[in-house]
Symmetry: C2
């Protein structure tokens, strides 16, 4: 697998990964009817942020997963980063999320961030919660009922944090 920064021509390969996640409405607080253009504006970070893709080897290899990262807040909060991850449905179980997560942690460390904060991890997204825990993240707190699942039930959103100091 190859991990690299995105270029402007990558969106056509990333959107097929992002769209099913957005439409499913189970893991991200994005509008479920988000258009490709809106999603591109959300997902492709500008410096000091960064968006990466993980692909199979080869020049036209499909995108297996993607992550974006950068400061969580401006000004007095810019020393803490944040990130978002999506894994292609066809690539689940291959360690794609872990590879992206490790890259996110390494990048923030190299850039001198003092921590990484996830603002809204859906508590029923147990694969993600377990992965972040295994990378050292802790649940700082859980906002009760802050996420509405497609079946109409309400579940909590974890705030998770990794100390890099």
């Amino acid at each position: 697998m190859i991990l690299r920064d995105t270029t402007s021509s990558d969106w056509a390969g990333i959107w097929p990964v992002v769209e099913p996640v957005v439409r499913a409405g189970e893991t991200y607080a994005y509008a479920r009817d988000l258009t490709s253009s809106q999603a591109r504006d959300l997902w492709l970070e500008r410096p000091p942020g960064r968006t990466v893709v993980l692909t199979d080897d080869g020049p036209d290899a499909a995108v297996l997963g993607t992550a974006k990262m950068g400061p969580n807040r401006p000004g007095p909060g810019a020393h803490v980063g944040t990130a978002s991850f999506m894994v292609a449905e066809h690539a689940r179980g291959r360690g794609v999320g872990r590879r992206l997560g490790e890259e996110v942690v390494a990048w923030h460390r190299a850039q001198g961030y003092r921590g990484i904060q996830f603002n809204a991890v859906v508590e029923t997204n147990t694969v993600a919660v377990s992965l972040w825990r295994s990378l050292g993240f802790e649940v700082v707190g859980t906002v009760p009922g802050a996420f509405r699942l497609p079946d109409g039930s309400y579940v909590g959103l974890h705030v998770m944090h990794l100390d890099l100091t």
Copy 2:
């Protein structure tokens, strides 16, 4: 005191309240060099959000305080609101923050929100923390060191929540 929705001509009266708070860098994770134009875009909410001002009586009365409110997240998170408040330096100690806080809670209740979340309350901002607690908010968790004070020290950011269900 009169509380009312902002109009497009209000910014000239609001900016003198907002600017010292932004420049001080002690309570909001906004860039300290934010321009008036950038601050206006941040502060004046569009529907379904709302921005209000509290003024003394009279047609040309100065702005004593201002609050903005609306959904904290899009889509599956839009049933939880959020808000931000600023009180004019010359109006401290007159109950301006409390009046704005009560309005924020009443508005979210009337609009059918299931809760209100503050994402980043600086833990050393004890006046604000006490006020929100007195209105029923609880600290869900505290992200350690997530806010850099002007003296270079790092303090935590509280996530606070009020259940409206």
